[in-house]
Symmetry: C2
DNA sequence: GTCTATATTATGATAGAC
DNA sequence: GTCTATCATAATATAGAC
């Protein structure tokens, strides 16, 4: 036995963190390639073979990182929602609380979706015949509802919206607006970025109807110069 | 030359209408099966092999009716939009002109989509990687815009909406509302029919914001008892 | 962890007999 | 118009050598 170490059996893995770091890098690279493939060929155009081809590796090698194609989809779904959530959170954090924050979150949502089209389609539409995301992959998606709920709650507290807006229903409305606008944009203007074309600008118009759907109880106060109090 | 007829060449097809009628029936049957398959397995779950299997025939036989899988998709796309257009037209025709007609059309749209999910996904989202509908298949889709434009025009003329509603933009808004609501419904409540669940009812809420988006110039008159004139 | 080889299955499509 | 036979391709996934 070697004198240098406490490990009694098996070949000594030198610097296991280095190994696992390389492994993580490979996983990240696979994910990136998969995102590219989906953006180019649609969600259903993804295959392990194509990923292997672009990674410069034979398909069986991928099974060391993902158990199956479904597992890869699941990771893509999870990471997509997580990234989406992060960007929405950040946008809302840096905006004034209330309606403005919700609007900023919605805007960030749409930007993320238009910038990550393949993943967005996977996340919002579930277009892959056999694929059902694992419960764990849904966690960030559920968290998103809470984030927007909090924003609406602030808007109600600030008198920008009526009490009905502090509800799940308001969040569903918001998501329907988002998905309607980006669906149309992706189907009809697949090459235009967010903000251009006929459809993504509609999102602002739709959002501005919230005070009509949930009218605040008191007369709206102007944004500038609140009444001296 | 034969004396009986003006056909100089080729064998005479006896009763060509009967033959072509059977042919048309087969085509219709293929279409129906394809719709079923898409509803069950998603748009990308459609294959000629599966259609042949259900039709009780070998795959090569289908090529007598459709040149390729893409041609079948194209026919499905065309028929879907045509059926959709017919139902919208009929709903608008039997409703009072103006906003009520637009609302009836939107309602019919959503009902059709939720009742023909596979085709609706093909028609609204284009989720098949290589497939681009032929120009001819787009005709009913363009016609739809005209139909809704006419409805909005009536609503403007009747003082229900402001002049801005007589625009393509209003039609895009309408379609974004529709697609947002049904996208969410199909992805999250795939088994519920139109009108049930959390999402399809949102369509009415969204639609009711139109007078806010395009406010009529004069004070709104009540629906009942128009001012004596 | 990667490779080769292979099993298995499925697909779209064509040729040619009947 | 349908069949059998076949081509060509591609996919997921596993076994086992290195």
């Amino acid at each position: 036995m070697a004198t240098s170490s406490t490990r009694p059996t098996s070949a000594a893995p030198p610097r296991p963190d280095r190994r696992s770091r390389r492994r993580q890098e490979t996983i990240d690279e696979i994910i990136e390639i998969a995102q590219d493939v989906m953006a180019e060929r649609g969600v259903n155009g993804l295959s392990l073979s194509e990923v292997a081809r672009r990674l410069g590796v034979q398909p069986p090698a991928l099974y060391k990182y993902f158990d199956s194609l479904a597992a890869l989809y699941d990771e893509l779904f999870l990471r997509g929602h997580t990234e989406h959530l992060d960007q929405v959170r950040e946008a809302m954090r840096t905006a004034p609380p209330g309606l403005a924050a919700v609007r900023a979150g919605l805007d960030a949502s749409a930007r993320w979706a238009m910038g990550s089209r393949g993943v967005a389609q996977l996340a919002f539409w579930r277009p892959v015949p056999g694929f059902e995301p694992s419960p764990a992959a849904f966690v960030p998606s559920q968290e998103m509802v809470k984030v927007f709920r909090a924003g609406f709650s602030d808007a109600v507290a600030g008198g920008e919206l009526g009490p009905g807006a502090d509800s799940d229903e308001a969040c569903w409305l918001l998501s329907a607006m988002l998905i309607g606008a980006i669906s149309q944009a992706m189907a009809n203007e697949p090459d235009l970025p967010f903000g251009e074309g006929r459809f993504t600008p509609l999102l602002a118009t739709l959002f501005d109807t919230f005070p009509t759907i949930y009218p605040p109880p008191k007369p709206r106060r102007s944004a500038r110069r609140p009444p001296a109090d």
